[in-house]
């Protein structure tokens, strides 16, 4: 066995030292690595960086778009809210106005009605007074004639019943005479 190994070792023409690089390998390795570097660093990795950037842009762009849309929506919402509030105050204003109008109309109508009634009452009163006046006047004349009639009737009757009334007439005449004498004296 040992002889065999020795023979094998002798058979090798050169003894290699693993720590000494073989120059042909250095050349081959350099060229191979240079080719690899050239291709990857020129054609592959810059494209990857570009893709990364594009991806970042896409994401950031998306975020920005979303943000803009959000802001727009918020603005719209604010606008709608403002409009709604405006409409509400407008409606309230209109309602108040209508109420005020109605009240005014009611007051107007009432005043007119009161005036009308006053007027009617006044006219009635006036008419009543006039009628009363005329009735009083009529009555007065009638009472006068009636009194005269009655007086004449009474006087007539009295004359007929002379016997009873002689004394009265006489007295009356006397009194009249007395009054004339007294008056004459004076």
């Amino acid at each position: 066995m040992i002889d065999f190994y020795l023979a094998a070792e002798e058979g090798a023409k050169t003894v290699h030292n693993p720590i000494i690089p073989v120059w042909q390998e250095i050349v081959v390795g350099s060229v191979a690595f240079a080719v690899l570097c050239f291709v990857l660093m020129k054609f592959v990795f810059p494209m990857m960086e570009k893709t990364f950037q594009a991806r970042v842009d896409a994401i950031e762009g998306g975020l920005k778009r979303a943000e803009t849309a959000q802001a727009e929506a918020n603005e719209l919402l604010e606008q709608y809210k403002a409009q709604l509030a405006e409409a509400r105050t407008e409606a309230a204003r209109i309602r108040d106005e209508a109420r005020a109008d109605a009240e005014g109309i009611r007051q107007d109508v009432l005043a007119k009605a009161r005036e009308e009634s006053d007027r009617i009452i006044a006219a009635g009163n006036e008419q009543l007074a006039a009628q009363r006046e005329s009735i009083v006047r009529e009555l007065r004349t009638e009472v006068g004639s009636l009194a005269v009639d009655l007086a004449s009737k009474i006087v007539g009757e009295a004359l007929a019943d002379e016997a009873r009334t002689q004394g009265t007439v006489d007295r009356f005449i006397n009194e009249l005479g007395a009054a004339d004498v007294a008056g004459g004296r004076r």
């Binding site: 065999f4 190994y5 094998a8 070792e9 090798a12 023409k13 050169t14 003894v15 290699h16 030292n17 693993p18 720590i19 000494i20 690089p21 073989v22 120059w23 042909q24 390998e25 250095i26 081959v28 390795g29 350099s30 191979a32 690595f33 080719v35 690899l36 570097c37 291709v39 990857l40 660093m41 054609f43 592959v44 990795f45 810059p46 494209m47 990857m48 960086e49 570009k50 893709t51 990364f52 594009a54 991806r55 896409a58």
Partner: protein, 263 residues
């Protein structure tokens, strides 16, 4: 007995350094001809795989990614966000393409170490980690000089904020650790991990054959050895990912150190 083993793995027990130096493919079988061996072929395959995958999956990039596109993006995104930006800061995006290329190149090449029937990583040859380490080394020094200006950069890198009397001790240490050890540690860490991983798999696989060939009674132990090979393959997977990550993170960290304004 040796014949069965050779036909299976073309290697003897115990494995040696020579097992890492495979004969040339073109010209076929030539020794010490390294232009076109299994290892260099694997490097090209790795490069081709990565390029094809990325070009196909990223031919028509979409905002909403397909599954393939998503995978390609996650690979880049992982290095970009978890290594480049994490270590260097916002300026790290600039370095993300290189760091990702580095990470993928190491990862795929390492991965050959456990692919069945391939099972050797080009990174177990120090030439390849060395190239990457040199690039990282040149890069972080260049970046530092660009950022601070050459003189200020070296002053910044070599002279830590310390009392003057301790500087004679600190400056050589800084010089040694920042400008001499760094490339070696980078290269050797990766190389040694892959080398050792391959060696471990060889030992347990070939050891199984050696034992069963030596004595049929050792067959159960051979079996155990092969089971362990599978377990070690799982462990290797961890090491593969970890080493690719470590290499990339350290490169990013060196760049960060060059860009930093304070210590």
């Amino acid at each position: 007995m040796v014949i069965g083993q050779s036909t299976v793995l073309a290697a003897e027990f115990p494995p040696s350094v020579e097992d890492f130096y495979l004969p040339s493919i073109l010209p076929w079988g030539a020794e010490n001809n390294y232009w076109f061996t299994k290892v260099t072929l694997l490097v090209w395959v790795a490069v081709a795989l990565i390029i094809v995958f990325f070009l196909v999956s990223y031919r028509k990039p979409q905002l909403v990614p397909t599954k393939k596109q998503w995978m390609a993006e996650s690979a880049y995104g992982f290095v970009r966000n978890n290594i480049a930006v994490e270590m260097i800061g916002p300026a790290g995006v600039r370095f993300a393409p290189y760091l990702t290329t580095l990470f993928l190149f190491i990862l795929v090449n390492n991965f050959f170490g456990i692919v069945p029937l391939v099972q050797i990583s080009p990174m177990s040859h120090i030439a390849f980690p060395a190239i990457l380490a040199v690039i990282s080394y040149v890069m972080f020094i260049y970046v530092g000089m660009r950022h601070h200006g050459p003189l200020k950069y070296f002053k910044h890198a070599l002279i830590p904020p310390a009392p003057w009397f301790i500087l004679p001790l600190l400056v050589p240490i800084e010089l040694f650790s920042n400008f001499i050890v760094r490339p070696f540690s980078l290269a050797v860490r990766l190389f040694a991990n892959m080398f050792a991983g391959h060696m471990l798999l060889l030992v347990f696989t070939l050891g199984g054959f050696a034992m069963i060939n030596a004595n049929a009674l050792l067959a159960p132990i051979s079996l155990l050895s092969w089971v362990l090979t599978i377990a070690l393959t799982m462990l290797e997977f961890l090491v593969i990912c970890l080493q690719a990550y470590v290499f990339t993170v350290l490169t990013a960290s060196y760049v960060q150190g060059s860009l930093a304004d304070e210590h």
